[in-house]
């Protein structure tokens, strides 16, 4: 039964003996879970961004300069996302070497991105832009931290994926894990692009 049919059902009308498999109508369970979690995370970032816009309207707002290294970081994060996508593709085509390489490169890029973010903080700190200097600075440090923490959470899953891939075994399971990693990375890339765009525009 489709979702729409399920809702249009008149439950008091007895459906004799018709026992349908009502499970899994939205796809595999881990994917549904990730989807719901990404909705929650989107709302979290959305609310941060809403707060950013509201606070921006006050007269004491002075935009924070955008360190050039953020452009490099953005490139690295795009690379990270692409490598993981490639890893997922490779697992789908039963090409374990590609999956492994993509996974390593993707995670490596993510770590490089985090180091790059830390360097950006360091540069801003040296220029005298601390977290309490201006609300725009506060938002920059806070948003990059929250995004970074999500990425670190992703790296924990990535680390477990590496163990799983090294051990080998069921290719379908490995492919699903890599797909989940790739989806999560794309989401964090999208969030970063929005945040970075916000910094550039405002």
């Amino acid at each position: 039964m489709t979702f729409r049919q399920q809702l249009a059902n008149k439950p008091w009308v007895f459906q004799r003996g018709e026992v349908a498999d009502s499970r899994g109508f939205l796809g595999s369970t881990p994917k549904v879970t990730l989807g719901v979690f990404l909705c929650v995370a989107s709302i979290l970032f959305g609310l941060f961004i809403a707060a950013y816009f509201i606070r921006m309207g006050y007269s004491d707002w002075r935009p924070i300069p955008v360190p050039a290294i953020l452009w490099l970081n953005t490139m690295i994060l795009i690379g990270s996302s692409m490598f993981l996508q490639w890893a997922a593709f490779s697992a789908g085509r039963e090409y374990p070497e590609g999956a492994r390489l993509g996974l390593y490169l993707g995670g490596g890029c993510a770590i490089a991105f985090l180091i790059g973010q830390w360097l950006a903080w360091h540069q801003l700190g040296q220029l005298g832009y601390f977290i309490d200097t201006n609300p725009s600075n506060g938002f920059f440090y806070m948003l990059t931290s929250v995004h970074g923490l999500h990425l670190i959470g992703g790296l924990i899953a990535w680390f477990r994926a590496i163990i799983r891939v090294q051990r080998g075994g069921d290719n379908n399971l490995i492919r699903m894990i890599l797909e989940l990693c790739a989806i999560y990375w794309h989401f964090l890339l999208l969030v970063w692009l929005v945040l970075f765009g916000l910094l550039l525009v405002t």
Binding site: P11, R16, G17, V19, S22, R23, L26, C39, R55, M142
Partner: protein, 591 residues
Amino acid sequence: MAITDVAHDAVDYVRPAEIAEEELYHPKTWLGKYVFSQDAKIIALQYSMTAMAVGLIALVLSVLMRLQLGFPNVFSFITPDAYIQFVTMHGMIMVIYLLTALFLGGFGNYLIPLMVGARDMVFPYANMISYWIYLLAVLLLLASFFVPGGPTGAGWTLYPPQTILPGTPGAEWGILLMLVSLGFFVIGFTMGGLNYVVTVLQARTRGMTLMRMPLTVWGIFTATVLALFAFPALFVAAVMMTLDSVLGTSFFMPAIVSMGQTLDYSGGSPVLFQHLFWFFGHPEVYIVALPAFGIISELISVHARKNIFGYRLMVWAIVVIGGLSFVVWAHHMYVSGMNPYFGFFFATTTLIIAVPTAIKVYNWVLTLWQGNIRLTVPMLFAIGFVFTFINGGLTGIFLGNVIVDVPLSDTYFVVAHFHMVMAVSPVLAVFGAVYHWYPKITGRMLNESLGKFHFWITFVGLYCIYYPMHYLGILGVPRRYYANEVTQFIPESAQILNAGISIAAIIVATTQLVFLYNLAVSTIRGKPAGNNPWGATTLEWQTATTPPTHGNFGKELPLVYRWAYDYSVPGAKEDFIPQNVPASGDTGDAK
């Protein structure tokens, strides 16, 4: 033709399962079975007991508050600071650490897998972690009673700037512990909440279509979705407030002179905090109310031996109320000052909520209409809930209007309103649910005489507490005040009323000990309940053993053939047909 008409294209055919069952985790040690358990039923009990323990603390705090209000200047240990700390902790604990945790973590964990016919939650490990993070959050919150300065006294809404200004009790340590504790609560809840939602979406047994789910599951499911989407706002507010407090940012803190000193803050927006807080805070009301709605529908249908009236409308009302709850938050902020058009919008959306809630109330009453009503203890609590919810809902219509709200906002009228609607009503639902499902959880019935005693004292007592508060509010007696001396508009008789309220509060609070005694003693002395003492149709009553073992249903998962409300079907042998009974001659289903 019987009530349960048969669809024209119905066929006698059971399709083979398309999806294999997931493997259960089997613990080997005692610790793994009863402490670090991954069984949703054990986690549910852990959640419930922790929530009830912390709720008892909040109950004691409310009695202390009432002692001060009823008999001012008698109890010297209740200082103005202590009073406002009690108010804050009472509110926060009751709303979040008791009701949210009990409805979703407690009832959600116990009932969702059993009622949808699953062996467990889909991610048992995350489910277990969810409880332990919740426990950590509770311990952090309670730790604030023992730090220098004591717990925060900012009011449960934690409005800046006063929250973190010197002079507010607990402005240094108390508020930090509160914010960190809330952060952990949100993280822990998200792990559990993902489980509840995905279990309902993905792990229902065969035949359990969405529209055959019991309304309890619908209520808990929708409330969980609301919580998943609303708690991030609390999280964002807590993070930004923590930064303001610890690192000196000015997200919420305006330029301010405190005790003669100019602070380093500048330009922040306290109203921004209010928006974030109430974007969480209003859905929170429905996070507590929707599971109660579901549970009450269940209790009324079972104990009136009648199918629920308007099942589909009940489901849609739950979903619509959930959706609307996200667009009404600023009605908590009428007195903060806002654009009149803004106020008009929020007043309108607020009043629209009355439509789906009224539908639910009518449907409960119509379910009772000509039902074979059995005044069991759960039924008494369910009827008590409907009464109280109507009362609280009606004053909600008053307060939803800007011009009525503005003069009443800081008075006892609001205290009376929100206690009626989101304290008394959900608590009555909790009691009803405990009396209803206790036989399944322990295998024994609760003592009925003690239960009736508990109900009548609690129900009548609560009205003695909150009804007079409406009058106090209309007189203009302000809330949050430590002491109300006699003023031009507060007559002396208000104090007599206050003393009476306090006495009623003490009696009601003491009566809860009878409930706890009943809970404890009935585990040993209660009458054995059997598998299905109420003659209910839903799957949790059809388990092979009571209490259900790990894995819930013996070897085979039940197959579901019908909806959850086949009560008093004409022609049937018994006055209920369980969901897992296929059609046959003696069930009364028309051929």
